[in-house]
């Protein structure tokens, strides 16, 4: 198996930069990383920590191997996300800073209800528009007294979604009430010290505001049902309500807070992407497609060198995505000439269920392309190999498309998590690794690269249980 010319496996970073493992001289580093605001990540100790602006986030939520976390701009609409004493309270008390939170400090609160029907903390905010919006409500909770935690998201009463989480079975029960307010899904993620991050997604009605309500319980029921105990309580921290899908936690105090988008680009350089990382003279792609294209016989001579292994040519791009975030815009990963003229691109579609893979050459003319169905919520491994008259696209171990004629893109100079190393169509997701090879790998090599070492690992990556 050939070694990659460029390999970025999230491990080293500093402000404004993500280091690549290969090449060792730093030529493959992503030298531009920007995010104008603070953000949070799960660090390797298992705690949620806030990082400064322009610091890349290596996030350990998916396990012991970190991912490079690239997220879009998001607002947490819930103020006082860690101070529930400042929420509106009904038949419930909130004691502040009573226990260690998922951030590792004593910032989590305890909320304790009585047995009265309606016992909850609640907070109302204005939506960005009086329209039906997909939103996600999340909160960190830890069991104390009682086995249940009730969550409600409500538009114009009685339009709402109620979800009840049962700690002992780790299951959700959800229901819709009223009109035009629909449940989409509920899930949880476990954190250190028995904390859970619960999230409920829903499509709102067209009310101007949204009200969120939380209540601990000893019985099944909703936030406004009577309870068997008069002291049901839960440890609580980090409430968040955001548009679209769940993203990393955004701390708020007296005002709503917006985390700005991550931008990562300028990986590699023109020497690295154009030939054998030696000199332009020895770049077979250039020799063949630029200098000898029209000289009869010369191509045959060059081919004989290529067949003998004196020269190799072609290139391969490989990306390993732990997750691709569903958002409202296109998102691209590219190796390009920093324009739209020459590029090899993996593009998320706005339908959030497909990738459009393509190669463009000379003024953006498409040489090869394929649109393929993918599940954004699971791990996806994608490779594109290109050489003159041979373009291949692989997804999760399978060759999905081949084109057998055409010239290759030239003057490539940057790997980027956006359209063409400029500022548009940033890719948002969790990145396990990206590679570039200065040869078009053999089919078996790419199948191995984009596949899994065992059936179990493949099943795990697709979030399936093997029994």
């Amino acid at each position: 198996m050939a070694n990659p010319t460029l390999a970025m496996i999230p491990s080293g970073y500093k402000a404004g930069k993500v280091y690549s493992v290969l090449p060792a001289n730093g030529d493959g580093d992503f030298t531009t990383f920007t995010r104008a605001s603070f953000a949070t990540r799960l660090n390797n100790a298992g705690f949620i920590e806030t990082v400064d602006a322009n610091i890349p986030r290596l996030d350990y939520t998916s396990g012991s191997c970190p991912v490079l976390l690239l997220e879009e701009q998001k607002i947490n609409n819930l103020t006082d996300s860690e101070n529930f004493n400042n929420w509106t309270k009904l038949n419930i008390t909130a004691a502040t800073n009573t226990t260690m939170s998922p951030s590792g400090d004593a910032s989590a609160d305890t909320i304790t209800r009585n047995s009265t029907a309606a016992s909850y903390v609640n907070k109302t905010f204005t939506k960005e528009e009086e329209d039906s919006l997909i939103m996600t409500l999340s909160v960190f909770v830890k069991k104390n007294v009682g086995d249940f935690f009730a969550i409600r998201a409500q538009g114009t009463y009685p339009n709402r979604v109620d979800s009840l989480f049962e700690f002992s079975t780790e299951t959700f029960t959800s229901l819709e009430s009223g009109n035009n307010f629909s449940f989409i899904g509920a899930s949880f993620k476990k954190y250190a010290n028995d904390w859970y991050r619960l999230d409920v997604s829903f499509e709102t009605d067209e009310a101007a505001t949204l009200t969120t309500l939380f209540s601990p319980r000893s019985l099944t029921g909703q936030v406004d049902s009577t309870d068997s105990a008069s002291d049901s309580s839960v440890f609580i921290w980090g409430a968040q309500c955001e548009n679209d899908n769940l993203t990393s936690y955004i701390k708020t105090t007296t005002s709503a807070q917006t985390r700005l988008k991550d931008v990562c680009k300028d990986g590699g350089n023109s020497v690295l992407f154009n030939g054998n990382y030696q000199s332009d003279l020895l770049n077979p792609l250039r020799l063949r497609s630029t200098y000898f294209e029209n000289l009869q016989g010369t191509t045959d001579i060059l081919n004989s060198f290529l067949c003998d292994g004196v020269l190799s040519y072609g290139s391969t791009m490989f990306v390993d995505l732990q997750k691709s975030f569903k958002d409202r815009t296109l998102g691209r990963i590219s190796i390009s000439d920093s324009s739209t003229s020459n590029a090899v691109v993996i593009s998320k579609k706005t339908n959030n269920s497909q990738f459009y893979l393509f190669i463009a050459r000379a003024n953006g003319n498409i040489v090869a392309e394929i649109t393929t169905d993918v599940d954004y919520d699971v791990r996806n491994k994608i490779a594109i190999s290109w050489e003159v008259d041979s373009f291949k696209f692989y997804v999760n171990g399978f060759l999905v498309h081949t084109v057998t004629s055409g010239e290759t893109p030239i003057d490539l100079n940057a790997f980027a998590f956006n359209e063409n190393n400029q500022n548009s169509w940033n890719f948002f997701g969790e990145i396990n690794q990206v590679h570039y090879y200065n040869s078009s790998l053999q089919n078996l090599e790419i199948e191995k690269l984009t596949s899994y070492s065992s059936f179990e690992k493949m099943a795990e990556s697709q979030l399936c249980n093997v029994e």
Partner: protein, 133 residues
């Protein structure tokens, strides 16, 4: 980065101002911004929280602002105008530095509001007062 806070009479007026900053259409037919400013739509912000009864029904409506609010983190490069070019000597050394001005894009200044606090919204970790346009 410069931060501005704005209030418009309604959402459609705000949307028109945002669109005037530059949009294009992607291959799926969706509009996307061609500028690199970060815009947060706050809508008609809550001035007073509503009161709910025991069933969660609203017995006193929330008091909302009449105006539609936006916060914008402006990309400084895109709102900077060079008023006078720098004057250089024969060796390229600056004799007189360029004169620049930073201002709200056309049509935004009249909608700007000047707060002495961060208000109801801020950009995570960025102080509005220190970055106020």
């Amino acid at each position: 980065m410069k931060i501005g806070k704005y209030e418009f009479k309604d959402k459609s007026t705000a949307d028109a101002k945002i669109k005037a900053l530059g949009v294009s259409t992607d291959e799926d037919g969706n509009e996307y911004p061609t500028h690199s400013h970060s815009i947060v739509k706050l809508g008609h912000i809550v001035l007073e929280q509503p009161e709910l009864d025991e069933d969660g029904e609203i017995i006193k409506e929330a008091v909302l602002s009449e105006n539609y609010h936006l916060d914008v983190a402006w990309n400084e490069k895109e709102i900077t105008t060079i008023e006078e070019e720098a004057i250089l000597d024969e060796d390229g050394m600056v004799i007189t530095p360029e004169v620049i001005s930073i201002d709200h894009p056309y049509g935004w200044k009249s909608a700007s509001v000047d707060l002495e606090t961060n208000g109801v919204h801020s950009f995570f970790g960025i102080d509005y007062l220190a970055h106020k346009i």
